[in-house]
């Protein structure tokens, strides 16, 4: 058995790939549900009902998708340039810290100014922390996978320290959480009696902006060029270091905005449970979307629905909600295998 390169992968195959992968994931997931002693059909019905079955379910899914769109974009833009930013989780918390710093009463301005200011502060927070791995990479050739990943833990411990110490809200009855974002900084909800907030609008706008940048601008060309071929990029006069820096600013900024959106939109204050790994799931979102900014929206909503639906399912059917992780993991693996099959054809025999 060996692999032969396809001359040109057909477009329909590439478009179909994520859908097929999800199908495969659900089929394989069914075996786990049977193993757990339940009917996969009832389980999947419960899952779909729980994620899309009512207005509340839909708003929950979309609210969960909001931070994933931001972190998915963060991963997608970085991976396009082959800058492996695994630190969106930490950058998210840096964004949340920046929003807390600015938004808990130091300044109080009308909402139309306050909210953009929070996002700018959050984006800056995400960018600044990512500068450390970037400078290490461009000046000392330190592998960014290691530095961005490990910085996550450093940042989480730092947040923990703040919440147990100087930033601990005395009004929170002993819970380790920071003071609330002031009213003018809170993102308005867009569906009454739900947790779906204005953050999703900003996330959608950012997706379109990133898509436009990648597709129509000199920056986008340079990001893609550096990702494909550094030698030719250098020959074309594109500075690799500058491009990496630019990509890092986008990526860190977007991850930071995810933190703002969660702090000012969903939770209202900074805690250590702000993100159940949105930064890491963002990588899955980006891979499933094949690094396409618009695809990120779809795949973020899909993954969020699975997580939200699995929670509902575990309440009605006797299956732990970890099944969501299995489904997401299998979808990802199938996308990766599928992407390989789209590039190569398997030839049996010699």
């Amino acid at each position: 058995m060996r692999l032969k390169t396809r001359r040109d992968a057909p477009v329909w195959l590439i478009a179909l790939l994520p859908i097929l992968s999800i199908g495969v994931a659900f089929i394989i997931g069914a075996f786990f549900i049977i193993w757990a002693g339940e009917s996969p059909i009832t389980a999947y019905i419960a899952l779909i009902k729980g994620s899309l079955g009512s207005t509340f379910a839909i708003t929950e899914s979309l609210a969960r998708a909001t931070p994933l769109i931001f972190t998915g974009l963060a991963a997608a833009v970085a991976f396009r340039a082959k800058f492996w930013n695994i630190g969106a989780e930490g950058q998210l918390y840096c964004g949340a810290m920046a929003a807390t710093l600015v938004g808990t009463g130091v300044i109080d301005l009308p909402a139309p100014i306050m909210i953009p200011m929070l996002f700018i502060a959050g984006a800056l927070g995400g960018c600044l922390i990512l500068l450390v791995p970037v400078v290490l990479k461009t000046h000392m050739k330190v592998d960014e996978v290691v530095t961005t990943l490990l910085l996550n833990f450093v940042i989480l411990l730092f947040v923990n320290m703040l919440l147990e110490g100087p930033w601990k809200d005395p009004m929170a009855m002993g819970w380790p959480q920071a003071a609330r974002i002031i009213d003018n900084g809170v993102l308005p909800t867009i569906v009454a009696k739900s947790r779906l907030h204005f953050g999703i609008i900003i996330a959608l706008v950012m997706s379109v902006v990133m898509w436009a940048i990648l597709r129509f601008t000199v920056w986008g060309y340079e990001i893609r060029a550096v990702g494909y071929n550094q030698q030719a990029s250098t020959f074309f006069g594109i500075s690799i270091n500058k491009s990496v820096l630019m990509v890092a600013l986008f990526s860190g900024g977007l991850a930071g905005m995810a933190g703002v959106s969660e702090v000012a939109g969903l939770k209202g204050y900074l805690t250590l449970t702000l993100s159940p790994g949105f930064g890491y799931t963002g990588i899955a979102v980006a891979m499933l979307a094949q690094l396409h900014p618009i695809g990120v929206i779809v795949s973020a909503i899909f993954l969020a629905s699975i997580y939200v639906g699995a929670d509902a399912m575990s309440r009605t059917v006797n299956i732990p909600n970890y099944i969501a992780d299995i489904l997401v993991a299998i979808s990802l693996l199938s996308v990766l295998v599928g992407a390989m099959l789209a590039r190569f054809r398997i030839v049996w025999g010699k």
Partner: protein, 506 residues
């Protein structure tokens, strides 16, 4: 009985016919040359012989025995040795270690270096292949590395030796040396297949010549009945007209190097005190064995490196901004050495690759890519330079080498450059593409551009250049008027054996 016999070999790749019913044989003690352009099917045929591919039809016999198809091991066991164009040696091992690599069974705990050493010494003495078995491969010259490759094949008791473009990397003197060794080997009863497209070498070394074109065997001649012209015609299928060279009255200096030095860096030799003046309407050929500083010199001229000392004047002004985009805008055409990895981005579409260094200068307000304009420009250039492709939206990696080079030429020459830095522009291309590339360079010269042509092919340098400079270990000799030096003198300078001063005295 024939030593090696190909019978009716056919091989298709999709709709492409790589080998069409090829039958040929190799006798004992014979040197057979296989001549053909790139894409004529030489490499496919050798890959079938070596078991990398399986032929669709036909078979191969070695001394009357059928060769198992698709098995490299069987080919090696049958006594076939191959010397590839690109060496397959481990740089960090010694000559001896490289040679015994892969010959010892995995179950043997201690390698039998002593016997190997003896055998190696005997071989090198017998054929005049002088080599120090304990030298590290990384320290060897290209010619020596090739010797190691040949000994490696002989060490495995090869009786049939295949040499794929063996002279491409050698100086004329090293080539003469190699030919002497090959003659020794056939006298000792070995059979040799010599693959090349250099006509005069083929005429010199071989007993018999077969010519491939478009996957077919189109001719077979005994060497003494062959001529350069008849072979070229057989190879290309029509009469070849190489571009005519014409000396023009030179204009102002476009490039001036005053004591330019460059520190050695990863993969490039240091340059020391380079002085060079290139004028409008002249082509300066830079000869040299690869790795003697050409890369550094080219990277300065392409704006990719800044000299560590000395002055680089471009169009009469001292250059301060080492930036490919700036150079391109000022009127420099840049033709890179490695066209597929450096000259294009294969994953991008054709129209995007036409932007290249002009990405920013052609963008609206320097930021938004003007796709409409870029696509129509691409369409125009595809027409003008006859680039064979499916259109401006095709993926660039699907182009052939010749068409990639046309794309690069179109991109850089369509701006009416005043200086062209062409780094091995014709290397690895077939005859048709070579004459196209050379014609484009000559046309640009006629229109007033100055050209620095870096090449390892001395024939090309002598055909095109007004003046010839030689680079050896980062030092430049010349340039000399191309009428005052001959190929031998240049060859000696390339190997560092003759200094320019002694040449002038002579």
């Amino acid at each position: 009985m024939k030593k090696l016999q190909f019978s009716k070999i056919c091989k298709n790749f999709g709709s492409v016919v790589a080998n069409d019913n090829i039958s040929l044989s190799l006798g004992e003690g014979e040197i057979l040359s296989v001549l053909g352009e790139n894409g004529a099917g030489k490499t496919t045929l050798m890959n079938i012989l070596f078991g990398h591919y399986i032929s669709d039809k036909g078979f191969i016999e070695v001394e009357g025995q059928r060769l198992t198809p698709g098995s490299t091991r069987a080919s090696l066991d049958a006594g076939i040795g191959m010397v590839h164009q690109h060496f397959t040696l481990a740089d960090n091992l010694t000559v001896l270690e490289n040679i015994i690599l892969g010959t010892e069974p995995l179950t043997r705990l201690w390698s039998q270096k002593k016997q190997a050493y003896k055998k190696l010494k005997a071989l090198s003495k017998r054929f005049g292949l002088l080599i120090n078995p304990d030298a590290k491969v990384a320290d060897l010259t290209v010619g020596e590395k090739q010797r190691v490759e040949i000994i490696k094949a002989l060490y495995r008791d090869a009786s049939i030796l295949i040499l794929d473009e063996p002279t491409a990397v050698l100086t004329p003197q090293e080539t003469t040396q190699l030919f002497k060794v090959l003659k020794e080997m056939v006298n000792a009863g070995l059979s040799i297949m010599f693959i090349s497209h250099k006509l005069h070498e083929i005429l010199e070394i071989s007993d018999r010549i077969v010519v491939l074109r478009d996957g077919k065997l189109v001719g077979e001649v005994v060497t003494k009945d062959a001529s350069k012209e008849s072979l070229a015609e057989m190879m290309v299928g029509h009469t070849v007209t190489r571009p005519a060279y014409e000396k023009l009255k030179i204009g102002k200096a476009v490039v001036e190097f005053n004591n330019v030095c460059l520190n050695a860096s990863e993969g490039s030799t240091a340059l020391s005190n380079i002085n060079l003046k290139i004028h409008e309407k002249e082509i300066i050929g830079l000869a040299g064995v690869a790795g003697n500083g050409q890369a550094g010199l080219a990277s300065i001229l392409q704006g990719l490196a800044c000299p560590s000392s000395g002055e680089f004047k471009l169009f009469g002004e001292s250059l301060v901004k080492y930036d490919p985009c700036f150079l391109t805008e000022s009127g420099v055409a840049r033709i890179p050495e490695d066209r597929t990895n450096e000259g294009i981005i294969g994953e991008m579409e054709l129209w995007e690759n036409f932007l290249g260094e002009q990405l920013r200068s052609k963008a609206k307000s320097g930021f938004i890519i003007d796709k409409k304009q870029a696509v129509s420009n691409a369409e125009k250039l595809i027409q003008e330079y006859d680039i064979r492709c499916e259109g401006p939206f095709a993926s660039t990696r699907l182009l052939s080498g010749g068409n990639i080079q046309k794309l690069i030429l179109a991109r850089s020459l369509s701006n009416n450059p005043r200086f062209i830095i062409a780094n091995k522009p014709a290397r690895g291309l077939d005859e048709g593409a070579i004459s196209f590339v050379q014609q484009q360079i000559i046309d640009a010269k006629t229109q007033g551009a100055g050209v620095l042509l870096i090449s390892e092919d001395l024939d090309e340098i002598f055909e095109l250049s007004d003046r010839i400079a030689v680079i050896f270990e980062g030092k430049l000799q010349g340039p000399f008027d191309s009428n005052t030096v001959n190929i031998n003198q240049v060859g000696l300078m390339m190997s560092g054996e003759v200094k320019a001063e002694s040449l002038h005295e002579a």
